[in-house]
């Protein structure tokens, strides 16, 4: 019912998309600009709600620990460190299985 009503109003949706894309572009500029200032490499994007960042240069701080069954890889250890410091990002291992 809700979806039907929404999808029927295509002029309204056209207006939604104009505003949405303005905000999405602004959000991307904010995030991309911050990543550049912090010299964190990332892939340029033109769509979506995400940015693919490269944190590989920080993996050296998380050497493998064979006896840690939960976080066996440096990438997962970095992921957990980031979570414990307030930010949850998807590690690359999730994306390339």
């Amino acid at each position: 019912m809700f979806a039907t009503g929404l999808l029927c109003q295509r002029d309204l949706l056209a207006g939604y998309l104009v505003k949405y894309r303005q905000r999405l572009t602004s959000a991307y500029l904010t995030a991309g600009g911050a990543l550049r200032r912090l010299e964190i490499p990332f892939a340029l994007a033109y769509a979506g709600l995400f940015i693919f960042v490269d944190l590989s240069q920080w993996l050296k701080y998380f050497p493998e620990q064979e006896d840690d069954l939960w976080s066996p890889t440096p990438e997962l250890r970095l992921c957990e460190w980031l979570i414990n410091h307030g930010v949850f990002l998807n590690p690359g291992q999730v994306s390339d299985k």
């Binding site: 019912m1 809700f2 979806a3 039907t4 009503g5 929404l6 999808l7 029927c8 295509r10 949706l13 056209a14 939604y16 998309l17 505003k19 949405y20 894309r21 303005q22 905000r23 999405l24 572009t25 959000a27 991307y28 500029l29 991309g32 600009g33 990543l35 550049r36 892939a43 340029l44 994007a45 033109y46 769509a47 979506g48 709600l49 995400f50 940015i51 693919f52 939960w70 992921c79 979570i83 307030g86 930010v87 949850f88 990002l89 998807n90 590690p91 690359g92 291992q93 999730v94 994306s95 390339d96 299985k97």
Partner: protein, 319 residues
């Protein structure tokens, strides 16, 4: 004597429990309070899912203006494919915003509880147990295609291709897909039955061109595979004018800015032999572009009436 002893899940359920790293991560940290600017400023900023909260104010106003529900709207049982009104509305939506080469009719749409559920249904209807689906990586965490449809996922890395979305790279993509398909048959004895892509691509935030989509569809046809496009970010492409401004603003001067292209739907593929492509299927939901993850509203658009009928039958039986 077994009343108080819990039975263990099935072997396949236990096996599946250890396959999904993303799910394990979320489970481990689900107890952490999430960030809120006022109530929980020290909470965890969760960027692990592509949550769209950019237009919450717009939806606040929209939902406040909607009429109240009545009991019959909650109690009436719709068709397994979705109500006629919903399918008509969805068809109009796709025709207006996805620019299909051939107008989408309501009979070519199946509505369901999100794109993932419909993907599961589509795989069940188009692939046999033990078949495989090719997935180009890197990609966002994939739903476990083995879970119910009993499908093997074959990742196809594109890391060696400098820009897999540039139309000039399509021959490299085809080579990688051929190698993965032949390798799966030779080493694992599995038949690849479908290629799954995300367009715009989740992680990279890039769109495939019509040329690339057409080449991928032609390749799938030669290899007797379905092409399944998850287009849940279809309307989240930056506007044409803003693309260049956005790129110029954040590009490293030494970084080569990839070619820009707006969104082109898989539904835009031209006719073949007087008919729209029959083995190309589009998945969409309202969870990303419109941020309505809680609504659980997804759509499958397929011109293949046999696949549509098979999926519809399964949906009927699963109600």
């Amino acid at each position: 004597m077994f009343f108080n002893v819990p039975f263990q899940p099935s072997h396949r359920a236990l096996d599946a429990a250890h396959r999904d790293l993303a799910c394990e991560l979320h489970q481990k940290f689900r107890g952490r309070s999430r960030y809120h600017a006022v109530e929980r400023p020290n909470g965890l900023i969760d960027l692990s899912g592509a949550t769209n909260s950019l237009m919450s104010d717009w939806f606040d106003r929209y939902t406040a203006a909607q009429p109240s529900l009545n009991a019959s709207q909650l109690m009436d049982c719709p068709s397994p494919s979705g109500s006629e009104d919903l399918l008509n509305a969805a068809a109009g939506f796709f025709n207006d915003f996805f620019h299909p080469s051939h107008s989408v009719s309501p009979s070519e749409i199946l509505a369901g509880n999100g794109a993932t559920t419909l993907l599961d249904l589509l795989l069940w209807a188009s692939c046999d147990r033990g078949d495989a689906v090719l997935v180009m990586t890197p990609t966002f965490s994939m739903p476990d295609m083995n879970l119910r449809a009993d499908i093997t996922t074959i990742p196809v890395s594109t890391a060696h291709i400098s820009d897999p979305f540039d139309p000039s790279a399509v021959s490299d993509l085809i080579r990688a897909l051929d190698a993965a398909t032949d390798g799966a048959a030779r080493r694992r004895g599995v038949r690849c039955r479908a290629l799954f892509i995300c367009n715009p691509a989740a992680l990279q935030g890039r769109c495939y061109t019509l040329k690339t989509l057409a080449e991928l569809a032609a390749w799938c046809s030669r290899r007797e595979m379905h092409l399944i496009a998850n287009e849940v970010y279809a309307l989240s492409a930056f506007g044409p004018g803003s693309q260049n401004r956005a790129m110029a603003s954040v590009s490293d001067p030494g970084q080569h800015a990839p070619s820009t292209t707006g969104f082109t739907s898989i539904l835009s593929l031209p006719y073949v032999g007087g008919r729209p492509p029959q083995n190309v299927h589009c998945l969409y939901s309202l969870s990303k572009d419109f941020g309505m993850k809680g609504l659980r509203m997804g759509f499958l658009v397929t011109r293949n009436s046999s696949i549509h009928a098979a999926a519809l039958k399964a949906r009927y039986d699963l109600r």
